[in-house]
């Protein structure tokens, strides 16, 4: 089995990259808004559907296929621009200050609505548009042929991790976000427009989810039900890494990706169990996640 080490690692990285995109938006939204968005997975699949539709349109009009790469990015931006402010102002804002049960239920209701909305708008058949994957070709690593597209995914995930860290540490917006995260009331009292920050942060979360869905479509199909499956995986990763921790989400994605790939190579009958088992084990040892921290309980 030793010849499988390199493919195993590469597969884990590729797997982790996709999972990371699904989870990082969730964890970011939680850290700023303190809301666990159960509809996050649906936004991932909406991003995928929009990207697939645009790519199919490009293919049908015989336009330059390299446009489809731009289409992936563009669809994520569109979804974020439309759904981000809409959901935040319309629904999520109403839940601030209320109990977690209310937040979870409101976003669960939104999840149900979005799932059916996707069926109505995009139909119930599966989509597939693989032009971006085909354009990039393949490389052979250790006797196994890999898609260059998978390597692109890993690169983009790294870009997002670094980019977010730079955003938060070195830009004004990042400092505002940090202030709001640290102490919301204090930030408000010194004049920071927290409402605007919330919209921006939420839209950023939606953008990352939709980008994940869009990037996933060239290598996977998209069909109804993707949102629900992705959601629980995103939960698992966000929880393992610590809610609100971006690097935590990156590390957690690696763990979950590795767990799943190890299962497929060694114990194929347990491949679906691996992510949740990993989540359970980590949470039992460190209930707040790898990088999470306990907030003081107020009496």
């Amino acid at each position: 089995m030793w010849n499988a080490i390199v493919p195993l690692l590469l597969d884990s990285l590729a797997s982790a990259a996709l999972i990371f995109f699904a989870a990082v938006g969730l964890t970011l939204v939680f850290s700023v808004l303190r809301v666990l968005n159960v509809a996050h997975g649906s936004l991932y699949s909406i991003g995928g559907y929009v990207a697939a539709s645009i790519c199919l349109f490009i293919a049908s009009r015989q336009l330059n296929p390299y446009l489809s790469f731009l289409a992936l990015l563009f669809s994520a931006v569109c979804v974020a621009a439309i759904f981000g402010p809409l959901i935040e102002r319309g629904l999520v804002r109403w839940t601030y200050g209320k109990s977690e049960a209310v937040q979870i239920l409101i976003t669960f209701g939104l999840f149900l609505i979005l799932e059916d909305l996707q069926r109505v708008v995009f139909g119930v058949q599966s989509f597939y548009e693989d032009a971006p994957m085909r354009l990039l070709g393949t490389t052979s690593v250790g006797g196994v042929v890999y898609l260059n597209y998978q390597i692109l995914l890993i690169a983009m995930a790294l870009l997002v991790v670094v980019g977010l860290r730079l955003l938060i540490n070195h830009t004004r917006l990042g400092r505002l976000i940090t202030a709001v995260v640290t102490d919301r009331e204090m930030a408000q009292s010194i004049g920071i427009d927290t409402n605007r920050i919330f919209i921006v942060a939420f839209s950023l979360g939606v953008f990352l989810a939709a980008l994940g869905g869009a990037l996933a479509t060239p290598t996977s199909g998209i069909a109804p039900g993707l949102g629900a499956d992705t959601m629980v995986l995103a939960f698992a990763v966000a929880a393992i890494g610590g809610l609100g921790q971006i690097e935590g989400a990156a590390l957690a994605s690696l763990i979950v990706g590795l767990a799943r790939v190890l299962a497929i190579y060694l114990v194929p009958s347990l491949d679906a169990v691996a992510p949740y088992a990993a989540m359970l084990i980590v949470l039992l040892i460190r209930p707040y996640g790898l990088f999470g921290s306990v907030t003081a309980r107020r009496i």
């Binding site: 209701g109 999840f111 939960f235």
Partner: protein, 307 residues
Amino acid sequence: MPTIIAAAAVLVIALLPVAAPWLQFVLTLAIAKGFAALGVAVLLRAGLISIGHAMFFAASAYAVAFLARAGVNDLGLLLILSVLGGALVGAVAGSFLVRYRAIFFAMLNLAVSMVFYALCAKLYSVTGGTDGMPVPVPAVFGVVLGEPAFKSVLFYLSLGLMVLVGLAVHRYLNSPLGHALSAVHTNEIRLEYLGIPVWAVLLIAYVVSAALAGLGGAIAGFAIGRVVPDFAFWTASGHLVLIAVLGGIGGVPGAFIGALFLELLHSAAVTVTDSWNLIVGMALIIVIMFMPKGIYGLFARKEATGL
């Protein structure tokens, strides 16, 4: 809720299948889900939201299937053993889960239920995988019944259990243990200072809620005739919470009102539209925003609590 209205409602439900025979299956399923939603509602009293209760629903249903495969053939025995099985799983899981609160409680419940789901779905040789296991028609007190007769017995038994167990849970919620749950929600540390062990209170509540969900699962297993891993999927847990909130967590009838309402509406709606999730999602949001005490809260007097 005034007893006369409750009695009248039960009577109406008991007579409905006479008018529309296929409604019996829908109503049996609604009562089963009502039990599970009641379990969720008990925990919601303490402010703990569990997105994993479908696991106990599924665990008892699988217990029925395994026991039937092992040769146990009596309805009463199957019900009791499977509910005990569900309660046992609840005790084991609850012993470490009740230490957490809020989001972490919800997420850990989700994690455990998804591990359970994945195990059921992947262990093809043991659990039949995604195809599930059959639940044969058992004998009732030694009498072997035909399928339609058994389903009628099941329906009226569930109705009877709904009343009896409902009364029992009502007593529980009005007892010191039950009031302690609301106290945990209000201010847990104060409760500790008063000398009441919060962990024990919550564990008892967790086991009770797991047993209720298990009872629902066993009834559903008998009604449907087949157990599949989808019983334990996280969206099923979400639906249970939805039913509890829709019906109102202020009192015991709330869970059953919510379940009956949703199942009947579902039966009517599927003939007209495919977008059932859309309707339910919007109903949930509307109820939470404008009717936080649920449907039950409209009937009950001031003791009804909401989210």
